[in-house]
């Protein structure tokens, strides 16, 4: 254990990036992430790296592309509207197989939205916000300490798979101060990058490119990417499971709302109620297996996990994480949803009360605050179809490893 220091999320993620060996940062001012470029401007040169205040978010992501192509650990950060501007660059990073870390301290949208905390960019991050068939590893940390740890992890994964990685935070996480132990983050050295454009000395030229004009060649590249994504799905899922062994109602949330759900779960346990939680730390790859574990089999069957009666998803959006939960649960249990938007944080009391009612009187659920949905469980015959569909949609197993299943 190192010393606990109090750090703002935005500053902590910047420090973690420098610890991880990031030596190039380009960014453009936008609230509520300005402390990241400010911290980089202060620290990066002393660390032997470079900071550039770019003319736009578009330029920043393309500077990162150039630096990453030259072999450096590189990063940019922004908040929702600025991240939209970076999408083309992220697609190019994915297509050219360049490692880079992008941090999004989400604010409210759509449009100019607001500057308070929100989670409306989940789809954009996890489903490919830019053009083309690509995936981006996406972390959804919920404490400042975790922000530090996933940032170090992000640089490692980016390099190992030569793929962009996003840290999907939110305004509260970026602005809040919490105790941090920086020594908890385990930095791995960057691998050799023989593909980088460092000058064609004693070797053939290296080319960083994503243009393949012949469809056969382009598809081959796409297959290669898909195989890589299956590997990532197999190896890089990060999740926290809380009281899943005997949970009857399982809360699901990431980022700041996960803190509220976690607090509610502890309070319910104090009252002797069997609340649990699945907290995805990677949003893509999504921890589907954690859900499978607790919904496989019927309530009548023996074994762990079959006590789960329902799921309770809490988000600062209209239900985006919810869709991945639906795919994973595939109609086998009802899913309840509580969401706030526009920069409003869910009320801890409401989260607690809803979850308590789910455990004690599910019929009464349906809060008066926020956006509340119920996704009912399907009839058994429909479940079979839904499960097959979800497995197909995830491509789990089918193409993994061999990469040849669909060819």
């Amino acid at each position: 254990m190192g010393e606990l220091i109090l750090m703002k999320g935005n500053e902590a993620v910047a420090e973690a990036a420098i610890m991880a060996g990031c030596r190039f940062f380009a960014g453009y001012p936008i609230t509520p992430q300005n402390e990241i470029p400010e911290y980089m401007a202060k620290r990066m040169f002393a660390a032997g790296g470079t900071f550039v205040q770019a003319e736009s978010e578009i330029a920043a992501i393309n500077m990162v592309y150039g630096a990453a192509g030259a072999g450096a650990r590189a990063m940019t950060s922004s908040s929702s509207p600025g991240i939209s501007l970076k999408q083309e660059g992220i697609s190019y990073l994915a297509g050219s197989e360049l490692p880079a870390v992008i941090c999004n301290m989400q604010r409210a949208g759509p449009g100019l939205g607001g500057i308070q905390s929100a989670q409306g960019d989940y789809f954009q991050a996890t489903k490919g916000g830019g053009h083309g068939d690509y995936r981006m590893v996406t972390f959804g940390p919920s404490t400042v300490q975790e922000l530090v740890e996933v940032c170090v992890d992000a640089f490692d994964i980016a390099d190992r798979y030569r793929n962009p990685v996003m840290i999907l935070g939110d305004a509260v996480l970026g602005q809040m101060m919490e105790p941090v132990d920086l020594d908890q983050a385990k930095v791995k050295p960057a691998p050799a990058k023989p593909w980088a454009t460092t000058g064609a000395k004693g070797r053939k030229p290296n080319i960083i490119n994503s243009l393949y004009l012949q469809p056969e060649v382009c598809e081959k590249m796409d297959y290669h990417l898909q195989e890589k994504y299956r590997e990532i799905e197999k190896n890089e899922v990060r999740v926290e499971e809380v009281y899943l062994d005997d949970a009857e109602v399982v809360g699901v949330a990431y980022g700041t709302p996960a803190r509220l759900v976690r607090a509610a779960v502890e309070k319910l346990r104090d009252a002797g109620l069997k609340a649990g939680m699945i907290r995805p730390i990677t949003l893509w790859p999504f921890p589907s297996a954690s859900f499978e574990k607790v919904v496989a089999g019927t309530a009548a069957e023996a074994g762990t996990g079959n006590r789960v009666k329902s799921f309770f998803v809490v988000e600062m959006s209209s239900g985006q994480l919810l869709e991945d939960v639906r795919l994973a649960v595939a109609g086998r249990r009802p899913i309840y949803f509580h969401g706030r938007m526009g920069g409003m944080l869910p009320e801890p009391e409401v989260v607690l009360a809803e979850m308590r009612r789910l455990l004690t009187d599910p019929a009464a659920v349906g809060g008066e605050y926020g956006l509340n949905y119920v996704v009912p469980a399907l009839k058994p015959e429909a479940v079979a179809v839904a499960v097959a569909g979800a497995v197909h949609a995830r491509g789990a197993g089918d193409m993994g490893g061999t990469g040849g299943g669909a060819r």
Binding site: R23, F24, A26, G49, T50, V52, A54, E55, S56, I58, A59, A60, N62, M63, V64, Y65, G66, A67, A68, G69, A70, G71, A72, A74, E88, G89, Y92, S96, T197, T198, G199, A200, K201, G202, P205, N206, I207, I208, N209, S210, L211
Partner: protein
């Protein structure tokens, strides 16, 4: 015994270009490659290919290359140069890439005084997409999106990028040349070399605008295109240096100034 007096520069790959007959991209590629060879910096040079007709430039140079998204080559070059300050980095861009979608990137790379070299190929039209109006299309010039000729009332005026960039303190060397005759080619070569020298000596941002032809989309033979360039483009885009750190230093010395302009 024989001495080789002419051959393919080492910085050019040994494959055929795809450019149309009469297109001057090939000449400009060659001039860039010769300059890199002559400075002996091939093994520490990284080039950036644009989106446009020269999109495949990464195949034509025998150098480490990166393909940039449309207009962003100066930003990509910035990232490369900043993490490898001893490298030689050049961006090769067309008029649509540089003067339309990428104006922010080129202006700010020059404004920051990035120690990179930009080769700006201006042929007053969008070639790869089939002959639409470029930001440098001349008044009255016919394109597929200016039927009947460019009318300023509808489509505005051509943008003199080199004159604009020449005003920026971060720009150390800005020059406009043509490749429409052997004399012009020789001058273009000298300008491109000066631009690379500017970068290698760490003087600041350098750019050479090269007036170029597009016989295919201009609807002309190669010879007509060369004539059209000389008759119409050179008057609209006057040739010459718009910024030269060396001359400015000379002037300052002549005036007895103690202050050296730092780029």
């Amino acid at each position: 015994m024989s001495t080789r007096i002419f051959g393919r520069p080492e910085s050019l790959a040994t494959i055929n270009f795809h450019y149309c007959p009469g297109c001057t991209h090939g000449i400009i590629h060659r001039l860039v490659a010769e300059a890199i060879d002559e400075f002996g910096v091939r093994e520490k040079t990284v080039g950036i290919a644009p989106v446009g007709c020269a999109v495949l430039a990464y195949n034509y140079f025998n150098l480490d290359m990166q393909e940039a998204s449309h207009g962003r080559a100066p930003a990509v070059a910035t990232g490369i140069k900043r993490v490898m300050p001893d490298s030689v980095v050049f961006a090769y861009q067309g008029d649509g890439d540089l003067a339309s979608i990428g104006t922010a990137e080129i202006v700010h790379a020059a404004g920051r005084g990035e120690k990179i070299t930009v080769i700006f190929v201006n042929n007053a039209i969008y070639g790869m997409t089939g002959g639409q109006m470029a930001p440098t299309t001349l008044i009255g010039q016919e394109t597929t999106t200016t039927p009947g000729g460019r009318d300023p009332a509808k489509s505005g005026f051509p943008i003199p990028i080199s004159e604009m960039l020449g005003k920026l303190p971060g720009a150390a060397y800005i020059s406009r040349v043509s490749v429409s005759s052997p004399t012009h080619v020789a001058r273009a070569k000298a300008a491109i070399k000066k631009a690379f020298q500017t970068q290698i000596e760490g003087r600041g941002f350098s750019m050479v605008e090269v007036l170029s032809t597009c016989p295919t989309n201009w609807g002309m033979t190669p010879r007509q295109a060369i004539e059209w360039l000389e008759k119409n483009m050179i008057p609209a885009f006057p040739l010459g240096e718009l910024r030269n750190w060396e001359k400015e230093q000379g002037q300052e010395k002549a005036q007895g100034s103690q202050v050296e302009v730092k780029h």
